[in-house]
Amino acid sequence: MIRLNGRIKTVVLFGIAIIFLIVVTMVGAFFSEAAMVTDFSRKDLAPGARYLFGTDWLGRDMFIRTLTGLSMSIRIGILAAGVSSVLALLLGTLAATMGKAVDAAITWVIDLVMGIPHILLLILISYAFGKGFKGVVIGVALTHWTSLARVIRGEVLQLKEALYIQTAKKLGVSNAQIAWKHMFPHLYPQFLVGLILMFPHAILHEASITFLGFGLPPEQPAIGVILSESMKYLAMGRWWLALFPGLFLVLTVILFDVAGESLRKLLDPGSVHK
């Protein structure tokens, strides 16, 4: 067998995680119609060769429903985490560059958001925006930006004091050039990794508020909806209704985490020695 060095291993891991996630998202989106199809001739089937994850009480194929649900979750996750990280970048940079008053205000908001239990705040926001897709995305986006904003604020503050940036100023380099040439290369790895590590949180939180009934509407085949509905049937011995969607949700979350961690390793300049 070929011996792989550490860096190649990390890249392979990253690749596998990303490819799996993309495939799930695409396939799920493609079958979103099929996930709704009911067929009473095949209801309540246990997992088998024909229906990998079995079927439910309406005869819907659970494998397709799981994929569609995950695809939905991932898309919500990406959208919410994307909005959230842009918010983090903006607020973090503003806090570090716009003077004491702005910094104090933003830091206060960060502390406030971090101080309230996530799930509670999420439910409130999602409910206020009328639940559904919009409510969930806004809710997740508004609650997940804080720690990344804090990291970016710290990084920018430190960069501002760096002698090489002060020297660049004395050499007449413009502020835009300093931001682009000197600050951006330091920030983007942090930003990218922060963004990817935000996905699993976003996905889990989406699933949990949907499960609790404050998120996506019940007609959507979301993982939260599937899990919530299958609770009633667990006692009747239909274990497959909850097991497979649950496992796949965990797998997705873990893979996002793996992708983020391996990316962090690759972008860290210290890793050249490993």
Binding site: N5, R7, S271, V272, H273, K274
Partner: protein, 308 residues
């Protein structure tokens, strides 16, 4: 004159690193290729090389604290026996001590006194510390302070005191005076001189030749991963008593000796020439210089040059 006992004898020491280049390529960087040093009892030996030439790795190698991606070669003999990782662990901090570059190496949350005593609270070590501090004009209160509360002058003395607690036979000082003013350098150096005069072997690792010449008995000249010359400090009084063309070039570059320079720079680790690393800059360079060159004795010192 009685032959002094050899404390440390390093032969053919080398250190290389594994490193990723851009992409997935892994390369080996031979940072130190041929390093030979001996230190006798009561002697102060300075290893002089330009900063960034990897000479600190020598200190780390002796103490067995090289980073994990480094590979070490050659032999280190301490007190007549080969220095194994097991012995390193046992001896470091007791018989072999490192004087670090700055107070950044001290634990900021531990009071000076207990830090230097390594947490020991028995009477003997307390009395010992009191005596050491007295010798350095450090008041007893200093023991109760935290590292950040020390003034610049004090922390130098505290760092040297750390070396004294264990009755060291070998003291390694790695660049102990970076950016200090000359008066301060002299003071710190005199502390090391005292340690040597009391019988310990002192290995000073520095980039500053002038400073080394002031205090050391012998100077080992380190160039691009190789020790090129081992000379008595007094040999540096005139160009003629020096053996290697690089040492001579150093001598001529001293501001008081003409401030002359030769062209070129020390080669990068990845582009070391075969044979003598100084070859490409040397006016005496011949075909022979591109082969392996022996480290041989010449006029009471040692040199790695075929023309000396």
């Amino acid at each position: 004159m009685k032959e002094k006992k050899t404390v440390l004898n390093i032969r053919d020491f080398s250190v290389s690193f594994e490193q990723y280049e851009r992409g997935f390529h892994k390369t080996v960087l031979p940072v130190i290729r041929n390093l030979d040093v001996t230190v006798h009892e009561g002697e102060m030996v300075a290893v002089v090389g330009s900063s960034g030439s990897g000479k600190s790795l020598l200190a780390h190698g002796i103490l067995g604290i090289l980073p994990y991606n480094a590979t070490m070669g050659g032999e280190i003999w301490y007190d007549g026996e080969l220095l194994t990782p097991k012995r390193q662990k046992m001896l470091r901090g007791n018989e072999i001590v490192l004087v670090p570059q700055s107070i950044a190496f001290l634990d900021p949350l531990m009071k000076i006194g207990s830090q230097i005593r390594k947490g020991k609270k028995d009477k003997a070590s307390k009395a010992r510390l009191d005596k050491i501090f007295e010798g350095y004009h450090l008041k007893e209160e200093v023991q109760g302070l935290y590292p950040f509360e020390l003034s610049g002058g004090m922390n130098r003395r505290v760092l040297v005191s750390t070396a004294l607690m264990g009755n060291p036979k070998l003291v390694i000082a790695d660049e102990p005076t970076p950016g200090l003013h000359m008066d301060m350098v002299r003071r710190v150096m005199s502390h090391f001189r005292e340690l040597a005069d009391k019988g310990a072997g002192v290995l000073l690792i520095t980039h500053d030749l002038e400073q080394a010449l002031e205090v050391a008995d012998r100077v080992v000249v380190f160039y691009a991963g190789t020790t090129v010359e081992d000379a008595a400090a007094s040999d540096f009084q005139a160009q003629e008593t020096l053996r290697h063309p690089y040492s001579k070039a150093l001598w001529r570059a001293l501001p008081q000796n003409g401030f002359q320079f030769i062209k070129g720079t020390q080669p990068y680790v990845k582009e070391l020439p075969d044979g003598c690393p100084f070859g490409p800059r040397c006016e005496y360079c011949t075909a022979e210089c591109q082969k392996e060159i022996a480290y041989r004795e010449v006029q009471g010192g040692r040199v790695r040059c075929v023309h000396a």
